[in-house]
Amino acid sequence: MKRLISTTINGRERELAVAPNRTLLEVLREDLQLTGAVEGCGVGQCGSCTVLVDGRPVSSCLTLATNVEGRSVTTIEGVAPAGQLSAVQQAFINRQAFQCGFCTPGMIMAVEGLLRDEPGAGEAQIRDYLSGNLCRCGTYSAVIDAVKDVIAEVGAARDRASAG
């Protein structure tokens, strides 16, 4: 039987009727037409369905939709205002950190988690944190470069702020 839950999706409060067997990924894609998160493996191993729940990256394919009741979900569609790009998205474009693009939204969401959890990460930490997001096209070097760019930018901005 469907249950009503209230949740926040990309900053907007929503009332959703979800069946017990529905995953967050299904609800995002099919009920809310947020198709940026995609299913690559269905078992939490590839990262293509990564979204943030209360700021933390999770596999939406292994999250029962009912469990986001009262929580805040951020998808790739919510990382920047419409028509704009987040710093991470811009860095991915600058570094051409994508090929087929199927893993890209999940990868970017994982990077958002990384920036929150380990804002000063070096390459080893970047690899450690993102190693659960698979890319078969072979774009890891570009992703690492893009993340380093963002971290350097944030660091530089902080330095400027503290100097000013």
Binding site: G47, S131, G132
Partner: protein, 288 residues
């Protein structure tokens, strides 16, 4: 996924009562193991009891006398990042850090991890080495069981009908113990452990006063190497001692074959990794 019904109790006692009332039902917490079984058709439920809406069961607390208490619904990542865990039980933080990936660590719970009884996992090995106790709750009360006694076999635990893991407790390790957890994968960084070794040492200068050594992921439950622990007492961790440890572990462990390696290979691996874990522990393992 095939359709199922879901009960969402708001307390552990209510959850326990629901499980007693519906013996076919299973409890689901993080869901990272159970949902895969359901998706793969290995388990086709009619009813699940969702524990995720139970408040206050994810707390991690420390008491100098009784040690650490981790609410069953704390995520693996909560445990890893807990300042209390990092301060008092760094080995447990490490064993949690090497589980799967950040997304799974954010979803999976410590209670689910031990209740699932999966031998191909890291935290149970560390927790057994640390002498962890599981707190088992029913509608009518609760009991404690050492994790080593709780884990009975592959996906087999001492959980009684209607019982739920409500917390995992780790006694204070005492002063002067160093610890290390060492995971070894045979295929990818993202693989489950082919072997995991947890070790604790109390050193007196270069001499071992007391040691604990547990080898996990090669046997259906973590294997504590008591004879090796006894052997280590009073010795220095030189090359000869380590080599003997490796031989002893290899001789005593009875690994099971799986896709990560044959029994014969894992036997050798267990020995080598035991040596390395001890070495790591003695040189790098945080002492307190």
């Amino acid at each position: 996924m095939r359709r199922f019904e879901l009960l969402e109790p708001e307390s552990f006692t209510a959850a326990s009562a629901a499980l007693l009332e519906h013996p076919e039902a299973k409890a689901i917490a993080g869901g990272t193991a159970l949902l895969i079984l359901i998706k793969h058709g290995v388990y086709i439920p009619e009813l699940l009891v969702n524990l995720r809406k139970i408040p206050g069961m994810a707390d991690i607390t420390w008491d100098a006398a009784t040690g650490l208490r981790i609410g069953a619904l704390a995520s693996i990542n909560d445990v890893e990042r807990s300042p209390l865990v990092r301060e008092h039980l760094p080995m447990l933080a490490e064993a949690c850090h090497v589980v799967a990936n950040i997304r799974i660590r954010n979803l999976a719970t410590i209670g689910g991890n031990v209740a699932h009884g999966d031998y191909q996992s890291d935290p149970p090995t560390a927790l057994v080495a640390l002498g962890a106790v599981v707190e088992l709750t029913t509608a009518t009360g609760s009991r404690d069981l050492p994790l080593a006694d709780f884990l009975l076999g592959a996906y087999e635990t001492a959980l009684e009908p209607g019982e739920l893991v409500s917390a995992v407790r780790v006694p204070p390790p005492g002063a002067g113990w160093r610890s290390a957890y060492l995971k070894f994968t045979t295929r990818s960084s993202e693989d489950r452990p082919a072997v995991g070794v947890a070790t604790l040492l109390q050193l007196d200068g270069g001499t071992v006063r007391e040691a604990r050594l547990v080898v996990g992921a090669v046997t259906v439950t973590p294997s504590r190497m008591t004879e090796v622990e006894a052997y280590l007492g009073g010795r220095t961790l030189d090359a000869g001692t380590l080599a003997q440890v490796g031989r002893m572990v290899a001789a005593r462990i009875e690994p099971i074959d799986d896709i990560r390696g044959s029994a014969a290979y894992k036997r050798r691996l267990a020995g080598v990794q035991a040596e390395r874990a001890l070495e790591l522990c003695s040189t790098m393992g945080a002492a307190r």
